[in-house]
Each structure stands twice: as C-alpha cells, then as structure tokens.
C-alpha cells in the first residue's frame, strides 16, 4: 500500500509552490481581472513555459519531460492554489491529452513538441449553447475537410493557436484539429463570470479541419475518454483552489474579532470550516485515486475520474462560497480575493461538463461494473 505521492513528486510540489507564490501573486491575477484587453498574464505564462511544466506528461520522444501523469497532477494542484491566469489547463489537460489519446501519428509528432515548448497554445471547442453536451446538440459541421459553425464559450479561445473541435460529419460526430490563424476563423472575446481566464466565441466559415485518428463517427465516445483524463487533472486544480479557500477562511477567522473575541471561536464558524475540511479531504482522497487510475491506465478510470470530479467540484464550490461568507462584508469587496476563487470554482465545475453530468457518468460506470 502506497497511496501517496513519492518523495520526488512531493519535492516537485514544494518547488512549484515556492515558484508560484513568488511569480504568480494575487497582483498578477488581478492584472488580468482589471484589464479587459488582457486575455492572460503573459509574464507568468512565459515563466511557466520556461519551467517545462507543459511537457511534464508529454513523452520525451515528443519533446516533453516524460515525467508522468502524477507529476502533472501535482502541478495542477499548485496552479489551482494561485488561480494561475494562464491557458495551462486548456493546452496541457485538454489539448495535449486529446492529441496523446486520439491524435494521428503526424499530429502527435507535429503538435506535442510545440505544446511542450509553448510555441502553440491549444484549447477545446465543444460547447455551442446552454445545456449539457450531447450528440444532438452539435451543429458545427465538416464537409470535405472544411469546418463551419460556431462554438461558445471556448475557454482560452482568444489566446489559443489551435483548437480541438467537435463537429458532425455525415451521420457521425468526429474530433478535428483546427489551426486558428486561418482567415476562415473569427474570434470575439466574451464577457464571463470568470474574467481571469479568457473566453471566446469562435466562428468557423469553411476552415480547414484535420480529423483526429479515424473513429468512424464515434467522436462522442472519444471525447468521453479525453474528458476522463482531463477530469482528474481538473480535480487537482480544483482541490488546490479549495485548499487555499480553507486556509484563507481559517486565517481570517483567527484574526477577525467580533463581540470581543476571534469569530473562529464561534461554533457557527468552526462547524462551517470543519465542513469545508471534510469535503476537501473527501475530494483529496478521490483525486488521488483518480491520479492512480490515470497514471496506470486502470480499467477503473471512468468511475475514478467521475468521483474525483464530483468531489472536487463540490469541495471547491462549497469552500469558495463559505470563504466569502466567513469574510463577511469584506469578502464581498472587489479588493479581497475571495470572489476570484468563487469565480474560478464555477468555471472549473462546468468547464468539462457540470456536476450533474459527471454524477450521471459515475452512476453509469457503477452500473456497468455491477453488471459485468
């Protein structure tokens, strides 16, 4: 039994934390928050690129560090703690993992080294309108290699150089890699509840689209597998944010005095923070299991990923909203960071499918397992 990260992985975590606490402060996040023209913090992004983290889970033959999925999980948690205002998740969790899992050999050889060295930024473009994603909700269409349709919101869509796009072709659904520097692609920034990560409306008007490895129209199933991988990584990012919220709330509850004593001496606050702690520990244990399943390609990945995602979405949501509540009126000011976590918590909870979608995926996985 060794249900923990290795000493090397813990060292990586400590180094990443030190680095990010110095290089990705609240001021760096707020620079993006307060400037509508800023899609991300490029100063922070370039430093992260230099660290090589984008290639942590990309094999050495494709220009990565070839460390592994556990190392990428460790980095994800640290990025989540500091609300890194960069397209790391879009490029490393969604785009790179999709190419690794379902890209052609040519796509892997061409794109993965560029993701690893930061010369391209990838994103995932699936959503077109309100409601959960399904085969019948996809309107974007590819005919003879040309993509037409509209995707919104695309997270990090206005910084990305490449997108993986979900579209119909004939009677099936497929995934395509689209270079975004084409004249037939237009992008418009969208106003969202999470301005420290940029979002775009992306229009394709006959854009060249390269199909990923042929899947005979079962693109939804392939997307499902990609999402399982991304879900574990997102769970760690969410866990980092939830952990930071508990720290913020606890620190504040010790300092803030009311009625002659710290507010953290009152059971209403103590029990609230204990509830956050319990949810965070449930999320951490489920995330670790997801990491194990991801790193070993275990057959348990579908339920492990779903449980990790459900637990992490609940933990970050609960911690972020109760962190504001614990801070009282101060927590509702623009200047205090609480709302930044509240915003990020909701983006990460719906970015790869809402909690309801993942609960359903989890129950289906349990039914499948039970029937087998």
């Amino acid at each position: 039994m060794n249900f923990d990260f290795s000493d090397d992985q813990k060292f990586l975590r400590d180094e990443a934390r030190k680095f990010l606490e110095a290089q990705c402060t609240s001021a760096h996040v707020r620079a993006v928050l307060d400037d509508d023209a800023m899609s991300h913090n490029d100063e922070v992004w370039q430093k992260i690129v230099e660290m090589g983290w984008l290639g942590a889970a990309i094999p050495e033959e494709f220009g990565g560090l070839g460390l592994g999925m556990l190392e990428l999980c460790v980095i994800a948690e640290e990025l989540g703690r500091v609300l890194a205002p960069v397209p790391f998740g879009s490029s490393a969790f969604f785009f790179a993992e999709a190419i690794k899992l379902a890209g052609t050999d040519e796509q892997k050889a061409e794109l993965l080294p560029k993701v690893a060295d930061g010369s391209i930024v990838g994103c995932l473009a699936t959503t077109e309108g309100p409601g959960s994603l399904s085969a019948s909700s996809v309107q974007a269409t590819v005919k003879k290699g040309k993509l037409s349709g509209t995707k919104l919101p695309v997270t990090d869509g206005d910084i990305a150089t490449h997108a993986i796009v979900l579209a119909k072709e004939g009677s099936g659904i497929e995934l395509y890699v689209v270079a975004l520097d084409q004249d037939t692609v237009s992008r418009k920034s969208l106003k969202t509840i999470e301005p420290t990560r940029s979002h775009a409306e992306m229009k394709f008007d006959g854009a060249s689209a390269m199909r990923m490895a042929p899947h005979e129209g079962n693109g939804m199933e392939v997307l499902d597998k990609i999402m399982n991988r991304a879900a574990v990584l997102l769970a760690f990012e969410q866990l980092g944010g939830a952990s930071r919220c508990l720290e913020m709330a606890t620190e504040y509850a010790k300092e803030r005095h009311a009625f002659g004593r710290p507010i953290g001496g009152n059971q209403a606050i103590k029990h609230k923070l204990a509830d956050i702690y319990v949810k965070n520990e449930v999320a951490r244990s489920n995330a670790y299991y997801g990491a194990w399943a991801l790193s070993t390609d275990a057959t348990e990945l579908p339920e492990a990923a779903a449980a990790a995602r459900v637990a992490a979405s609940e933990a970050f949501w609960f911690a972020s909203k109760e962190n504001i509540q614990t801070h009282g009126g101060m927590g509702f000011t623009w200047e205090v960071d609480c709302h930044l976590y509240y915003r990020r918590a909701k983006l990460l909870a719906v970015q790869a499918g809402s909690p309801a979608v993942w609960k359903e995926k989890l129950v289906r996985a349990l039914e499948h397992k039970n029937a087998a």
Binding site: F3, G265, K270, A274, D275, S285, A311, L362, N370
Partner: protein, 394 residues
Amino acid sequence: MDFTDSTEEAAFRAEANAFLSQHLEPKKGAATRSGNYLQRAKDWQKVKAENQFAQITWPKEIGGRGGSSMQQVIWNQEESKFDAPTGPFAIGLGMCVPTVIAFGSDEHKQRYVQKALFGEEIWCQLFSEPAAGSDVAGLKTKAVKDGDDWVINGQKVWTSGAHYSDYGIVLVRTDPDVPKHKGLTMFIIDMKQEGVDVRPIHQASGGSEFNEVYFTDVRIPDSDRLGEPGMGWKVALVTLMNERLAVGGSPGPDWAEIMDYARSSGSMSDQAFRAKLADWYVAAQGYKLTKFRTQTALSKGETPGPENSIGKVITANHLQDICNSAIEMQDHYGIISDKDHAPADAIFQESFMWAPGLRIAGGTDEILKNIIAERVLGLPQDVRVDKDKPFSAF
C-alpha cells in the same frame, strides 16, 4: 502509487487469512449475533490470544505479537471479512485494558491483562452520566475516602456491555472544590460487587445494547486507583485517545446496498435518486480512500495526519440519509420493518432507527466538528465559563 502490500505485509495478510479461514466462516451480509454470541466471542478471543493475534501491537511480554500498527490494520481488514464475534471485547481491549496497562500497578497488570486478553473477563467503560455527555468532565458521581477504601455513589449511563462485564474503569469526582477537570479520579471497579446495579436502557431503536449503572455505597480499595487522585482527566484522555482508533468502520447499509435494492425495484431510472447515489458513492469512497492514506503513513512508519477525523461525521450522516431514501423509495410500504415483508431483510428500516444514535455515540457530530476546528485547523477553543471555577460553584 500502488495498492499492493509489501512482501512482508502480503506474507502477514496470507498468514492472518489462513488462520481466520481455519477458524471462522466467511461473512455473508451483516455479522450474525445468533446462537450464544457472548460465549462464541469468548471462545474466539481465546483462540486469537493463544495464537498471538489478539493484540498485534502489544509487546510479547504481555501476550501481544509485538507487531506494527500496519499489521493490526491488515488483521482488522482480514478479520472483518469473516463472521467474527468481536463486539464484547472491543471496548475492554481497545480502551480499558490499555488504560490499566498505562496507569496500573504491576499487580493490576498481572491480575487483569491476561484474563482480558484470553477472553475470560470482559471490561466496560463508565464515563458518561445523565448530566455529563459531551462535557464528560462535568460528571457528578462522587467518591469519598473512608479508611483504605473509597465509597462511591451516583449514576453512569450509556455503558455498553455493563450487563455482561466483569470489571470496568470508572471516572468519578473526588474533589468538588476545585475546577471540574482537576477533581476527577479513575478507578478499576468490580462490576459484580454489592451496590452496583445495572439496568438496561430501552433505546429509541427498540433494542437494549446500553445500560444505566447505579452505584450505592460501592466500596473500592485505594489500591485500585489508576493514577493519582485528581489526575483522572489525564487518565481518561488516554482512554479516549484509544477510542478514536477503536470506533469506526461501516455501521450499516451503504451505497452498494441501496443500489442493489434500487436495481431490483426499478428505481434506477429516477434521476434524482441517481444523483444522490453518486454523492453517497463519492463520500463512501472518500472515507475508504482516506483510510488508505492513513494506512500508507502507518506502512511507512509515519504518524498519520488528522485526515482520519472525518470518518464518523461522514458515515453516520450518510447512513441516515441512505436509509431515509430507501424508505421513501418504497413509498407507503417503506414503513414496514417486519422482515417477512420488508425488502432486504428490513436493514434499511432497522438502520434508520439506529442512525440517530450513531450521530451521537462516540462524540456527537457537533463535538467532532469542534475537534476538527480546534485541533486540525487551530481555531480558538469554545468559551468555557466553568473552566477555572470550583465545580461546586455550579
């Protein structure tokens, strides 16, 4: 990351499993309490002790195995797969006897430890009182020195197994004129002696697993004192520290049982139920996997972190929620607890009536959250207006 045993751990697990297979039947569903449960428990305890499986971490000199905490965890995991009658000894060997070992004289250890270990004598723990539950240090049962004896009068409550126990450890007030934590003393008490009156409590669930214990002029020799007079609270903390290791585990039906029932009854098509099922699975997995994290720390010889403190807050509440849903799923029929009619042998109805007790026993939800807030998160202690004043002032 991996879930496999080390070579030594695997060898111990195999040894434990072989031993268990030789003596017990594999568990099918919940543990059975049929037959002469108490005698079966005593017999099984004897067999375990004779083969050094009774207390894995105790030193060999006192009948243990001299093993590691990890081996104890492995033993517990393996034993739980069998229909093992362990209940009557959990409190005695888990809490009381370790307290005797820590604070008793050599004579006490020689007299009591082996008898308990080999299943000949059963122990109970007498702390809680009608007016001292969460605030145990507020207890009122008093002991007055009379020659070489102490004379005890008062009442304890919620004493598991008092009706079949031979001995107990009892916490009493020996000095009411000092603050409450400073006037307590711990004693060993002979439960079969004159003046000890054990009365079963008729629980809200209908059963009677716990007792009230009344003391009328009960005499305890001063030589059966554990620790100095007035040091009883420190002694009790050692006992309660062991409780947190002893209490836990699955108290009743979980997500798998309700899913089985939902499948057989056609309720899996209910979207609201499916979402709840996912939540129960996530919480149950979360607790199970958290124990694996604790186990990993033990396996590496490290001290586990505080994460295990989440256990009972999760399990007791989820049990209550699951049973509530199972009953509502059966609609009007769900109120039937007659096993001849109720689905799943009425486990949901039975556990529904047990669940409120589980949220209280061994630390209420509220006290456990206080503990997490104060000891894990470092928040200030609650206001304790009686902390520095003589107990008799209240």
